[in-house]
């Protein structure tokens, strides 16, 4: 629109792919999400091939509810990774929450008091991470590795090797029960609500915009008056609170509070986030992609379960999926360059404007 007034300098005005909201990269990630949908479809098809029970409502309930703690923790983890940090301590926060819940319940404190307290403890755990990372400037990988051990240790100090299991049935039903008359687990509803909130915050509010800005260029974000430290601290606090919530859900689902609940879950959390198309270096990713990844992984595990593949082997599939998902873009890029070179060699581009500037 301003072309006729433009100065005479020889500038290329490249026509970038029509990107409506580049901070969310829908054009790129639409492709990634499309890929995920394909994989999801493939896994569903595999599931139906291995067992007639795959598409039954009860299997749907099983497959989803087994994944919900991890799925809930993956939501804040997505934002943290987009902001260029990482939180490995969530599984221990989950364990700490479970242990404290059990301890309080065993001490006769009613659940209405326990649950807010446990969520607050999760928030404090996240706050410590956040302060060490965002305020003191320590590397999040090491800080949260430290608190991964610290919080797990605290969980075991709180409860020792005891397991508290005499929770009221109403509470445990919340863990594995479904909405009456439907195959939808209660926990899926919790996840759906949280997913909607994170979707909204990440992609429709300026908080999300700031998270992407920090992840893409921390310095420029700071120069643009974004309070980087406060933002990161808040993300870690949210991560802690939701890990505590996941701890409550896990306790309800297993109807057992133990200090070692949730050991090893952080691998699954990080796998889901990266499978969802989030860049480990920060700045790129979407919540819908991560939600798709949750169901992709859940479907895969369920299909493998029904095929009689034990959980131990399933970790191989998860690990391979992770490696494929991060190397695939590179391979695709290389393939495109090679194919492009071959095509150009055969047919020189007819439109000289088209190859003005390839940004990337």
């Amino acid at each position: 629109m301003t072309k006729e007034r433009a100065v005479a300098a020889p500038e290329s005005a490249p026509v970038s792919p029509a990107v409506a909201r580049p901070w969310a990269h829908p054009s790129v990630l639409a492709r990634w999400e499309f890929f995920l949908v394909l994989i999801l479809g493939l896994f569903v098809w595999m599931g139906t091939r291995v067992s007639p029970y795959f598409l039954t409502p009860s299997n749907f309930a099983n497959l989803t509810s087994a994944m919900m703690e991890v799925a809930i923790m993956a939501l804040p983890a997505t934002l943290i990774i987009i902001a260029g940090e990482i939180d490995l301590s969530v599984e221990s926060t989950l364990g700490l929450a479970s242990a404290i819940l059990g301890f309080l319940w065993a001490a006769g404190v009613p659940l209405e008091v326990d649950i807010p307290l446990v969520l607050a403890v999760g928030g404090l755990a996240g706050l410590l991470n956040g302060l060490l990372v965002a305020r003191a400037g320590l590397p999040s990988l090491v800080v949260t590795l430290g608190t991964l051990a610290l919080y797990r240790g605290l969980a075991q100090v709180v409860l020792g090797t005891r397991a508290i299991s005499d929770f009221p049935s109403g509470f445990t039903a919340f863990g594995f029960g479904t909405v009456p008359g439907s195959p939808i687990p209660w926990t899926l509803i919790v996840f759906a609500m949280l997913g909607a909130v994170f979707w909204f915050v990440a992609h429709a509010t300026w908080i999300g915009r700031q998270v992407f800005a920090v992840g893409k260029n921390k310095d420029a974000a700071r120069y643009a008056a974004v309070d980087v430290a406060a933002l990161k601290t808040a993300l870690f606090v949210v991560s802690g609170v939701l890990a505590a919530l996941a701890g409550i859900i896990l306790t309800a689902r297993f109807s057992s509070a133990r200090g070692d609940n949730g050991s090893g879950l952080v691998l699954t959390v990080v796998t889901i986030v990266l499978l969802g198309g989030v860049d480990i270096n920060g700045g790129k990713g979407t919540i819908p992609g991560v939600i798709l990844a949750v169901f992709t992984l859940a479907t895969l595990q369920s299909a493998l379960n029904l095929a009689g593949v034990s959980g131990d082997y399933q970790t191989v599939a998860v690990g391979l999926l992770l490696i494929v998902s991060i190397t695939a873009p590179y391979i695709a890029r290389q393939a495109r360059t090679v194919i492009g070179r071959v095509l150009r060699a055969r047919h020189p581009p007819p439109d000289p404007v088209a190859h003005g500037e390839v940004v990337g």
Partner: protein
């Protein structure tokens, strides 16, 4: 920022600064104090049996930590070491159980496999230029899955192994456990290589500033590939020793050990941001963690505290690193005319 504020206002500055300068010395000092305190409360700390047990376990972790340190010095990380350890321990046992191979042959096969696993990590990371933390998180799962595949629901027990297979674990030479000698030799070899060869210095250069290293003509990706390969190999050595030490090997053996390995490296003064630290520090870090573990046992303190202390020690170590660097930066600014 708030750290610098605190630094200038307290007298902790010089003390912490001195602490940061030689992590190896500091850790050794702390260990001596800890050992004295433990001995006062529990004299059987000094009993040969106890000392052997502490140092043999620490030796296994130390060997893996030396490998991890090589990787961390280049500013990468390898989370898959525990699966490599578990896989090698199991594979060596399975080979001995099912084939009539000699023990040295089985060990050589195990080490060869470990080297390949490390090379796979290094190849994926350097060819596809993807972050090591993600790749090794993936191979952590994949390699562990391989153990289950090999195990196929079984476990290796003492009766599967040649008679006297686990004897080296209790063997001593002039009162020093054999494993400790192996660990000291490995650490020394790695330390000399890091200190006195061009390649060793290139590891530091790549970790300190990869771009500047490339400008100097160092092939950074090759250096990183070799670091991962060696890390895999050393994890294999640790795995073989693990098998010898325990005799009974499960598909889940060595699960969770990566936390100890990385903790030993960080506590030993190898900065996660690359370019600094020594393998000697990493080995001492492993011994330090082993000592804490043993102290809890002997003092009848709840074993649950172990993780709490590990976590606290990691946080203290990383905070000290950052603090020392901050001070260094502070002096630089002050000196400019």
């Amino acid at each position: 920022m708030s750290v610098s504020w605190a630094v200038h206002r307290t007298r902790l500055g010089p003390i912490l600064g001195a602490l940061g300068r030689s992590r190896e010395l500091t850790l050794t000092g702390v260990m001596v104090v800890l050992a004295v305190l433990v001995t006062v409360r529990a004299p059987n700390f000094l009993a040969p049996d106890n000392l052997n047990q502490v140092t043999v376990l620490a030796a296994i972790i130390a060997i893996a930590a030396v490998g991890e340190a090589l990787v961390v010095i280049t500013r990468e990380v390898d989370l898959s070491v525990e699966s490599t350890m578990g896989l090698i321990a199991f594979v060596v046992g399975a080979v001995l159980r099912e084939h009539s191979t000699s023990v040295p042959e089985a060990w050589a096969m195990g080490l060869g496999l470990a080297l390949v696993l490390g090379m796979v990590n290094g190849a994926i990371i350097t060819i596809f230029r993807v972050p090591s933390i993600v790749v090794t998180l993936g191979t952590l799962n994949v390699y562990r899955g391989l153990v289950f595949f090999v195990a196929n629901g079984t476990q290796i027990s003492l009766s599967d192994l040649p008679a006297g297979y686990t004897n080296p674990a209790t063997q001593t030479i002039f009162g020093v456990p054999l494993f400790v000698i192996v660990a000291v030799l490995t650490t020394t070899l790695a330390a000399v290589a890091l200190h006195s060869t061009r390649f060793g210095r290139q590891l530091y250069a790549v970790g300190s500033d990869r771009e500047a290293a490339t400008v100097m003509g160092i092939h950074s990706r090759w250096v990183i590939f070799v670091a991962f390969s060696l890390c895999g190999l050393l994890a294999g050595v640790a795995g073989v020793l693990w098998g010898v030490e325990f005799g009974t090997i499960y598909a889940t053996s060595a699960s969770g050990v990566v936390l100890q390995v990385v903790a030993a490296v960080v506590v030993g003064g190898v900065a996660i941001s690359g370019g600094s630290g020594t393998v000697v520090g990493a080995a001492i870090g492993a011994l330090f963690l082993g000592l804490i573990n043993n102290a809890l046992l002997l003092l009848n303190l709840p074993q649950e505290l172990l993780q709490v202390i590990y976590g606290a020690v990691i946080l203290i170590a990383v905070a000290t690193d950052a603090f020392v660097r901050l001070r260094a930066r502070g002096t630089r600014q002050a000196v400019v005319p």
